[in-house]
C-alpha cells in the first residue's frame, strides 16, 4: 500500500512531541481562558495550529504558551494545567 512519507523530525520537531497550551478571550472583559492544548514542532506552527483548531469564536485575544513553561503551583508534578474552581 502506498503511504505518505512522514518525516517525524519535521512533523513533531524532535524525538518527542512538543505541546502548547492555548488561551483566549472573546472580549476585553473576559478573563483569558484556557481553551485547549495543541502539539506543534515549533512556535510558528503552534500559532497556525492554534488559529486553525481554535477558531470557534472571533477571539479578541488568542495566544499560546509552551506547556513546558508552565510552573504548576497547586498541582505540582501533575499533568494538570487548568483546574476549574
Amino acid at each position: 500500500m502506498k503511504r505518505k512519507k512522514i518525516q517525524r523530525k519535521r512533523e513533531i520537531g524532535g524525538a518527542t512531541p512538543k505541546f502548547y497550551e492555548v488561551f483566549a478571550r472573546q472580549t476585553s472583559d473576559d478573563p483569558l481562558t484556557h481553551v485547549g492544548s495543541i502539539e506543534a514542532p515549533n512556535d510558528a506552527l503552534a500559532e497556525v495550529r492554534a488559529w486553525y483548531i481554535h477558531d470557534e469564536h472571533e477571539w479578541r485575544e488568542l495566544c499560546v504558551v509552551p506547556t513546558a513553561a508552565i510552573i504548576a503551583v497547586t498541582e505540582r508534578g501533575k499533568n494538570v494545567k487548568i483546574k476549574e474552581v
Binding site: R3, K4, E39
Partner: protein
C-alpha cells in the same frame, strides 16, 4: 494502542471507591488519580472519538467537490475543517496517555481504525451531506453533549465545549438545507427521501446495542458518560422524529403514546443489502449484525488508505482526486 487489562489484575476495592467518587461528582484531572480500569475505559472512549472525527474527512470530501454553489462549498469546507480540529483535540488528549498520533494516523493499518458503520460510506453530493448532518452529525452531537455534561474526566468534558459549539452548526445546516431540498423540486425531494432511507437505520444504531444486551457498563459506572445507549437513542429520536414529521419526510419511527417513548417501526437488528444499498427490514441475529459491522462499509478502507497515501505540496495538486 489501548489494551484490555485482565479482570483479575484490578484492585476491586480501589475501583469501586473511584466509581463512588466520580458518581458523587468528583472530576478527575490527572492520570495519577485514575485506577487502571478507569484509565482503560476513558482512553478507549477517546480513542474511538478521535478515529470517528478523522474518518469524517474523507467521507465528507466528495460532497465538498460536488457542492452546487460557492456558499455550499464554503459551508462543507468549514465543517470538514471543524472535524479536523476535533480530531486534533482528541488525538492531543491521547498523547497525554502515551499514544503517538503520527503512528495512530499514518502507520496504523486502516482496518484497525475504530469507526462506525454510519461514516463508512461516502457522502457523494451535497444533499447526501446535508442528510448525513441532519441524522449522523446529530447522533454524534447527542453523544458529545452527554459527555460534555457528564464526563468525570475534566479535560475531556472541557474539550467538548468547542466540539459541541461547532457541531450545533453542522446539525442546523443539515436541518435548514434538507428542508430546502425537500421543498425545492420533486427530484430533490426524492433524493432527500432516498438518503434518509439509507442513513436513518445507520444513525439509529450509532448508539450501539440495546441496554439489555450490554455486558460491560464501565462507561456508566465510571461516569465517562451519563446516559445509556437507549437513553441517547431516545434523545436523538426526540429531535429527529418531530423534525421529519413537520417537514413531511417518511421515517421508520414514531412516538408511542402508550409507552410514552419514541419507537422504531422495525425490530433491530436489520441488515443493509450492500448490493442494492437498501435496508432489508427483516430482523436478523446480532451475530449477523456484528459481522456486517466488522466487515465495515465499502468506503472505510479506501477512504483511510487515501488519507494515509495522498500526497501533499506539489504532488497533491498533480494527483488530484478520483
Amino acid at each position: 494502542m489501548a489494551t484490555r487489562i485482565k479482570e483479575d489484575a484490578f484492585d476491586e476495592a480501589a475501583e469501586l471507591a473511584l466509581q463512588h467518587r466520580v458518581k458523587a461528582g468528583y472530576v478527575i484531572e490527572d492520570e495519577e488519580e485514575m485506577t487502571p480500569r478507569y484509565r482503560d475505559v476513558v482512553t478507549n472512549t477517546m480513542h474511538i472519538a478521535a478515529d470517528l472525527e478523522i474518518m469524517t474527512l474523507p467521507v465528507y470530501h466528495p460532497s465538498l467537490l460536488e457542492a452546487p454553489t460557492l456558499e455550499d462549498r464554503i459551508a462543507v469546507a468549514a465543517a470538514i475543517q471543524d472535524e479536523l480540529g476535533h480530531a486534533q483535540v482528541m488525538y492531543r488528549m491521547l498523547e497525554d496517555f502515551g499514544y503517538d498520533t503520527v503512528e495512530l494516523l499514518f502507520e496504523r493499518d486502516p482496518s484497525e481504525f475504530r469507526t462506525f458503520y454510519m461514516i463508512e460510506y461516502p457522502h457523494h453530493d451535497y444533499i447526501e451531506c446535508c442528510v448525513a448532518m441532519l441524522l449522523g452529525d446529530r447522533a454524534g452531537y447527542t453523544t458529545t453533549r452527554d459527555l460534555e455534561e457528564n464526563c468525570s474526566f475534566g479535560p475531556y468534558a472541557r474539550s467538548l465545549r468547542k466540539v459541541n459549539f461547532e457541531e450545533q452548526w453542522h446539525v442546523g445546516h443539515g436541518e435548514r438545507w434538507v428542508k430546502f431540498f425537500w421543498n425545492h423540486s420533486p427530484e430533490t425531494r426524492k433524493r432527500v427521501q432516498e438518503n434518509v432511507d439509507f442513513y436513518f437505520p445507520m444513525a439509529a444504531m450509532w448508539f450501539g446495542v440495546p441496554d439489555r444486551m450490554k455486558t460491560r457498563t464501565d462507561q456508566l459506572s465510571y461516569k465517562i458518560r451519563g446516559a445509556s445507549n437507549d437513553e441517547m437513542r431516545q434523545r436523538w429520536l426526540a429531535e429527529v422524529v418531530p423534525y421529519c414529521e413537520e417537514v413531511g419526510i417518511d421515517i421508520p419511527a414514531h412516538f408511542d403514546k402508550e409507552k410514552n417513548e419514541y419507537v422504531l417501526d422495525y425490530e433491530p437488528p436489520i441488515l443493509l443489502n450492500e448490493e442494492t444499498g437498501k435496508w432489508d427490514y427483516t430482523t436478523v441475529t446480532w451475530e449477523e449484525k456484528f459481522a456486517q459491522w466488522r466487515k465495515g462499509g465499502s468506503n472505510k478502507i479506501p477512504a483511510l488508505k487515501r488519507l494515509q497515501g495522498e500526497c501533499w505540496g506539489k504532488e497533491f495538486w498533480k494527483e488530484g482526486w478520483e
